[in-house]
Symmetry: C2
Subunit: 290 residues, 2 copies
């Protein structure tokens, strides 16, 4: 049985601003995973944390030397697509576009292609934010490449293989280690450990994605006087951790109650971070107006 | 200026056996690079080494738990597409297919999608096989992941970034190191070193692709009494090597005359391997009849 949050179904698709469900077979996104994506929560029919998503997309474009689309056009299209669907998820894919010439080397003149997809809002069990989730450690690891680390690119086979591993039906997420054995993140979330009232989250210098909600938690914790560390995190440190939680733009902050059979308490720091995030999101921090 | 062999232009496209230039925007090949590819030389309007390409594809399907298409159907389609174009290249992309459900986890029920593209034959400078090519070392490295190593999957951003690095117009290829510093391969070829009359090529256990021509060279060398080693290869070993050459299904065997400004002689072992391959290909070893 797949997880509830894996089940959202697509209800609309736009390619370069036009309603379409097809894309060129010459697209470099298909051939090489040569592109980026963002998954944007729209809990009330409008995109949450949109400016942060667009800022990360822009950083990804710089890293890959992708032609960046106009942020105004993107924002307008995302808002328009979200508005049609009540609460929903909008996924944006940005690729280096179609090329009829074979070969890895970009010409540097490719106009990028943008695909916007609207998915139904996931059916989350509301008790998970309260009572926490079960998590396992994935067998598949993340290869290390600083050139690709941090950005949300389209080379996601490691995540596909990790997600395909067998797991109990009520396990929500799997933690992934790097090839050199550090804890990096969940398959689709970032991870924080509470250790001696201090927050620790893995750096994403060699692999992993710099999550939007991770960024927001780091900022809010710092400005609220909760000490934070971003550093290499060994799996053995999780054993002794007081609390663990996961973050993502879709799930927000979710406590971990069990990792590989080991039980965790959901403590004061996790609850405080959840409270901070609730305030931040209510104030519209994500939309850049905070 | 891009390399001649980067310039082939597409002239026909089939999706699941039907002439088409578009693919579903829900395809997991686009979303995650969740698929495989093969690039098949058709020097006389018919696919060379087809059985070996299909065997590697099948190994990739097993690794990714992809629904393998009928090899008979694939072979028939590839032959039909190649026959229409004189000498050409046929690229096959096989993805886990379209999914309207969001999320990394495959349902295990996805019917795969096959895309066949016919490209014009590259305009190779015929003197390169004789006088060798200039090669540089790429700045971008290959992340290590045994789960993805060896197979020809669609997560190719590392190759795209390496190919986008600035280089002299007559540099043909760039060698890529692994994140742990071993020599692995060219961006689009495998590499062999001749050391004390012995052939050495890097193992592809942690990254890299097990090339069709690499496999053929290893087999032919072994059965011709040339000692071969497949092992970890340090970049410092290349400095002392007597000869270097590159292999791929498209270029065959190509001597290296210069690597990062260091000159190499094109010696007897490289010439002997070139001769062996010419015989093998003429005998149709690749078509599985040898």
């Amino acid at each position: 049985v797949a997880e509830p949050h894996d089940q959202p179904v697509v209800s609309a698709a736009w390619v370069d601003g036009i309603e379409a469900t097809q894309l060129s077979v010459f697209d470099r996104g298909l051939h090489y995973g040569d592109g980026l994506f963002e998954t944007i929560a729209c809990p009330r029919g409008s995109p949450r944390l949109l400016e942060r998503h667009l800022a990360r997309l822009r950083r990804g474009c710089e890293r890959l030397a992708l032609d960046p689309p106009s942020p105004e056009v993107l924002a307008r299209e995302i808002r328009a697509l979200a508005a049609g669907g009540g609460r929903c998820i909008v996924k944006l894919l940005l690729t280096r576009g179609a090329s009829r010439v074979r070969g890895y080397r970009p010409t540097q003149r490719e106009p990028s292609t943008r695909v916007l997809l609207r998915y139904s809002w996931p059916v989350y069990d509301p008790s998970l934010a309260l009572s926490g989730v079960r998590v396992r450690t994935a067998g598949v690891r993340l290869g290390e490449n600083p050139a690709l680390a941090g950005i949300k690119h389209l080379n996601r086979l490691e995540q596909v293989l990790a997600a395909a591993e067998p797991q109990d039906a009520d396990v929500s997420e799997a933690l992934m280690l790097s090839s050199s054995g550090a804890v990096i993140s969940g398959i689709m979330s970032n991870v924080f450990m509470v250790d001696d009232s201090q927050l620790v989250t893995p750096d994403v210098e060699r692999c992993g994605v710099a999550g939007i909600m991770r960024e927001l938690v780091l900022e809010a914790a710092s400005s609220s006087g909760i000490p934070v560390q971003v550093r290499r995190l060994g799996p053995e440190e999780l054993t002794g951790a007081a609390e663990l939680f996961l973050t993502s733009a879709l799930i927000g902050v979710r406590p971990v109650r069990e990792l590989d059979g080991r039980l965790y308490t959901i403590g004061a720091v996790t609850r405080r971070v959840q409270g901070l995030m609730a305030t931040q999101l209510a104030e519209g921090a994500g939309s850049g107006h905070a």
